[in-house]
């Protein structure tokens, strides 16, 4: 059942991406994309029921949240700001993460360690996942716009930064909330809100990277290459925080190793 829902989601998002690229009847593409989101949400609900805990512990589980959130945000923000720039990148990102998860599911473990049994667990992870989705999408659109200009041999324009910037204005406040929820939770669980654990350090670096983007955009609004470049670097730091930190020499000292499958 889980695999069927996953394939429905992947199929819907792939079809929606094709329909968006074809640029006819975009409302129908929205509908197909939302069928995929619905299938993905059902998959998460079934996982929650079968595991007996929120499916937010392993990297594979958080990847599913991401795979569902990105197309959902792509459609919602597209409606809100009347733009189709997000449509194809958001669908393709959803497909990419879902396919990766079908290959490496990593959501088999039903146990949840005592430190994760907290009322903060769900809001902390959900807020982070929505933030990651918005920020990932902003970088994807930045890269998409940049690649488009390169192919057409045109210089970057200021309007190329518009949608990525709007996405950061949504993603960064959520990232801030996720970081602060984590600090409040850590105080309850371990007695200190900040210990410079490797995962915390990388969360701080991700936050700083996007703060710097925001300040650079404020100071240099007429330099699209600088701001789009900062966004792409920011996403690199974000991915290092999410996945890469587990492979660094500092990983052995982290108390956040529960994101790895056992």
């Amino acid at each position: 059942m889980n695999a069927t829902l996953a394939y429905v989601a992947v199929g819907s998002w792939t079809l929606a991406a094709g329909m968006y690229a074809w640029r006819r009847r975009p409302w129908m593409a929205d509908l197909v994309a939302m069928i995929g989101v619905f299938a993905g949400a059902m998959l998460l609900g079934l996982l929650w029921a079968s595991l007996g805990r929120p499916p937010m512990r392993t990297l594979g589980e958080t990847r599913w949240w991401y795979a569902v959130c990105v197309p959902l945000l792509g459609v919602l923000i597209g409606w809100r700001f009347q733009t189709r720039v997000l449509a194809v990148p958001s669908m393709l990102m959803g497909v990419m993460f879902a396919l990766f998860n079908l290959r490496h599911p990593e959501y088999m473990d039903r146990t949840l360690m005592p430190a994760l049994q907290s009322p903060w667990f769900v809001p902390h992870v959900v807020v982070y996942m929505v933030a990651y989705s918005a920020l990932g999408l902003s970088s994807a659109v930045a890269a998409w716009n940049w690649a488009g200009r390169l192919i057409r041999r045109q210089p970057l324009q200021i309007e190329d930064t518009d949608v990525p910037h709007r996405l950061v204005l949504i993603g960064l406040p959520l990232l801030t909330c996720g970081l602060l929820f984590g600090a409040l939770w850590a105080k309850e669980a371990w007695g200190h809100y900040w210990t410079w654990d490797p995962k915390e350090t990388w969360a701080f670096l991700t936050w700083m990277a996007y703060l710097m983007y925001l300040h650079l955009r404020q100071k240099h609004p007429l330099k699209p290459a600088l701001t789009l470049g900062a966004l792409i670097v920011g996403f690199g730091v974000l991915m290092a925080c999410w996945f890469g930190v587990n492979y660094l020499p500092t990983a052995q000292e982290s108390v956040h190793t529960y994101t790895q499958p056992e």
Partner: protein, 407 residues
């Protein structure tokens, strides 16, 4: 007589003349880091807390608040404008970020062994560059203290909130008391120890009335000998929570759990259920392999009293039981005549102290004879929380702006 026009010489502006920007900020940050490194070489790693707290508070707050007031009164002044502007902020944030990057990659043990830094985050270069960032942050708040417009309120919530949280964190770092008590059941204790195992008298007498622990049912693993893998074994992820009567697929094998004892012992002939907390769980499995063969037998994760048991499927393959993982553990305490319960994520608060469930005897699990409690007193916490809630408010206002389409 013809006059010869002499070229007029215009003095080239000095590095610190004219508009100040990224280059001057870069030089300032590099100089600060160099001074930090010189301090490290000169006085070595010294926790700044060796100075009296009021000295540090005065030395730290005076320049910051001075800049804040100056920025409010004379925001256009060249140096103030630069110190509280974006180029200085971006440069100091980049420096803090790069230093944090080093701390996020290189393990603490390497910093301690190779560079004599018990805490990288308390090193002089990091503290000094961090202070520059704080200076820029507090100064920029001064510039926008007034008028009380919506934009300035949003700005202050996020920027002043961060500054307050950082100042509170610094105060916490200077005054934090974090000690541990090892408690044995029924034995009142008044001694606590710090990280260096120095003994201190606790602010109250604590008695462990009961230590309770719940565990998840154990999982099983399919292990295959694989000389290529580092530990010589290839193991499937433990997924199935064992309980009587279930049938599930594990890496292509159909596993049925026919019997399951939460606490079991082997008497030489049979596996029996026993009432001892220290006894390991055991399960009788029937396994159908992918090639249709059927195997059955007992598996057990092992404990101080019971040898582990596994079910061989092939010469190079077996099914093993993983030790049960903790689900919940907590201590019932009696302090000054009152009963308290302390668990993970459930600290107790007593007279300005927070009590946390820290650890227990992991080898004995639920039968642990002792419980370790951490006692924390953090006087900077209200300041940090004030900053955090301001930042949360700022983030929500920014989010509203973002969704509303304001740029």
């Amino acid at each position: 007589m013809s006059s010869i026009a002499r070229p007029t010489t215009v003095a080239k502006p000095g590095f610190w003349d004219g508009n100040l920007g990224y280059a001057q900020a870069f030089v300032t940050v590099v100089t600060t880091m160099t001074v930090g490194l010189a301090f490290h070489a000169w006085v070595g790693y010294r926790w700044i807390g060796m100075l009296p707290t009021w000295v540090i508070a005065v030395a730290g707050l005076t320049p910051a608040l001075g800049l804040m007031v100056a920025a409010r009164l004379n925001p256009g002044q060249r140096i103030i404008k630069w110190l509280t502007g974006i180029p200085f902020a971006v440069t100091t944030c980049t420096a803090v970020g790069l230093l944090a990057l080093a701390g996020g990659i290189v393990p603490a043990s390497v910093w301690a062994e190779r560079f004599g830094l018990p805490s990288y985050w308390g090193s002089w270069p990091f503290l000094m560059v961090g202070y520059l960032m704080l200076l820029s942050l507090v100064g920029s708040c001064g510039r926008r203290l007034w008028p009380l417009t919506y934009t300035n309120v949003v700005y202050q919530a996020s920027h002043l909130g961060l500054a307050i949280a950082l100042l509170g964190g610094a105060y916490s770092g200077l005054t934090l008391e974090r000690k541990r008590m090892v408690l044995f059941k029924g034995m009142p204790a008044e001694t606590m120890v710090d990280e260096q195992n120095r003994e201190f008298k606790a602010p109250f007498e604590v008695e462990l009335r009961e230590f309770r622990m719940e565990v998840f049912n154990p999982t099983l693993t399919l292990a295959t000998i694989d000389e290529k893998s580092p530990d010589g074994l290839q193991q499937s992820a433990g997924s199935l929570l064992l309980k009587k009567g279930i049938t599930e697929k594990v890496a292509g094998h159909t596993v049925t759990v026919e019997k399951f004892f939460k606490h079991a012992a082997y008497d030489g002939l049979h596996w029996r259920e026993v009432p001892w907390k220290t006894a390991a769980p055991a399960a009788f499995l029937r396994v159908r392999t992918p090639d249709g063969k059927e195997k059955s037998g007992w598996i057990c994760s092992g404990s101080p009293e019971t040898m582990p048991a596994y079910l061989m499927l092939r010469d190079d393959q077996a099914i093993l039981m993983n030790p049960p993982r903790p689900k919940k553990f907590e201590s019932e305490l009696r302090i000054e005549g009152k009963d308290y319960r302390v668990g993970v994520n459930e600290p107790a608060h007593i007279g300005g102290y927070d009590l946390y469930q820290f650890s227990y005897d992991e080898k004995m699990g639920a039968a642990s004879g002792y419980s370790v409690i951490e006692i924390v007193r953090d006087q900077g916490l209200p300041i940090v929380y004030a900053g955090i809630f301001m930042m949360l408010g700022g983030a929500l206002l920014h989010l509203g702006n973002g969704i509303g389409g304001k740029k």
